[in-house]
Symmetry: C2
Subunit: 271 residues, 2 copies
């Protein structure tokens, strides 16, 4: 096997230790302010399921809990299929650094059967990615350079003046800076690309981090192939922020309007 | 301790076996078509955290995975605090029947500090619960009798004629039929009171069941006390349904418009 050349594939390069244990490392290209970008950590948890020899079907749901700051360096993911049904399978996962649990996750994989499709979450009419300028004022963290991010609406505040914008909704085109075919792992990372909704709503840059995030996967193999490394549109908004926690609900669409994933998370902040 | 008289409190009556293990039973008053109403099962998982002597703070997030049909009768919940930080704590939980895992869950509890509050998810203008008639055509299952359910919008289809309604959005008032003060356990059950969105969107009653559901808790003790056993307004819609899975995103408000919880789930169906 040739070494991976794309940083995301490098981040997903694990050594299988047997019995559902995988040895990986944080990737400096996806470093955040402290520790790695949570989207890549979530993708790494999913990737352990994808690599597991007992996996049945494709991911339908993933929930990741950020228990502690992941330290730069090595980690071990333990993945266990706790229940295998005829067409669905339930996974429990933990990421360890030394003896410490830093991440927990659950996942559901399934053999999906073709049914009629109905999509209530229509993609809003927006300018194409090519018509929107790349994000300016990127925070000085490595991971954000791995993505081509173009805010259609709800960009980072130009002035951190504590003014209440009254709205936490963003619409944003996103793609890997270095082109890479879309898969469910990279889609998982995309689901965490949105900056904290509180920063937008309150024009106040407080320390904030994801505590728990989930992704429901809707993209078919055909949907992923059709994206072919192009832009995905994301929508995210908070529903409420109070007493140190802020929720977020979001959707990711292909450029032709297919809902690829829905996502939700809750973040912890200090004022 | 006197025996509980409210069926929900009876459903939450556990015997503590020590080391985070709790023995409980399904409650016939919350029986569904097969096994118990998932909302009560989710509440039972949360309740094990609430009873745990090592718990820090109050619930902020809960995610529950329905791995297999819960059989009527006894179960054992194992709750473990896998990580305790200064102000947050991470839980992993499993429900066993015999040697089989039937439910897994993760939860986050936290000591919350007072911050400014911002609420993007405003309660839509609706008739008060008193102005809306109780749900008609209730399916013949026990659990639904435990709730006073009043659909403002998006009620069960009157005709199961496979017509596409084009919309899966419901607004519904809900309360315990036998009045009971609201707590985070009953709020968890409320988050699962919505009937499957596919039934509404497609006017087709297919077999369907929740695979994974999550609740982010926003209600303060004061919010819960203010509800005082009254009605809560729920909003739920699917974003996409295809190839055997349907997602759902929802919000629960107090009658005076405070966002008490946000919720999301994915359901498995057969056509």
């Amino acid at each position: 096997m040739r070494p991976a050349t794309h940083p995301f594939d490098q981040a997903l390069t694990f050594e299988a230790l047997g019995e559902g244990r995988f040895l990986g490392r944080t990737h400096p290209g996806y470093a955040n302010m402290v520790g790695p970008f949570g989207g890549v950590t979530a993708a790494q948890m999913l990737h352990a399921v994808m690599l597991h020899p007992e996996r049945l079907g494709e991911p339908a749901a993933l929930n990741v809990n950020f228990c502690a700051a992941v330290a730069d360096g090595a980690f071990e993911i333990h993945a266990q299929a706790v229940r295998t049904n005829r067409s669905t399978q339930h996974w429990c996962l933990s990421m360890y650094q030394g003896d410490e649990v830093v991440i927990t996750a659950t996942a559901v994989t399934a053999n999906r059967r073709s049914t009629l499709r109905a999509q209530d979450a229509g993609m809003p009419p927006v300018l194409s990615a090519e018509q929107v300028p790349p994000m300016s004022g990127k925070p000085p963290v490595a991971w954000i350079e791995r993505y081509d991010i173009r805010y259609v609406q709800g960009a980072l505040p130009a002035n951190w003046d504590d003014s209440d914008s009254g709205d936490s909704h963003s619409l944003v085109w996103m793609a890997d800076s270095q082109s890479r075919p879309l898969d469910l792992q990279s889609l998982t990372a995309y689901a965490d690309v949105f900056f904290p909704r509180l920063w937008l709503r309150r024009a106040r840059r407080v320390p904030i981090g994801t505590v728990s995030m989930g992704v429901y996967f809707h993209a078919t193999a055909q949907d992923l192939a059709a994206c072919a490394g192009g832009f995905v549109l994301g929508s995210a908004r908070a529903q409420v922020m109070h007493d140190g926690f802020q929720d977020q609900t979001g959707v990711l669409w292909s450029a032709d309007g297919r809902c690829l994933a829905s996502t939700h998370q809750t973040m912890y902040y200090r004022e």
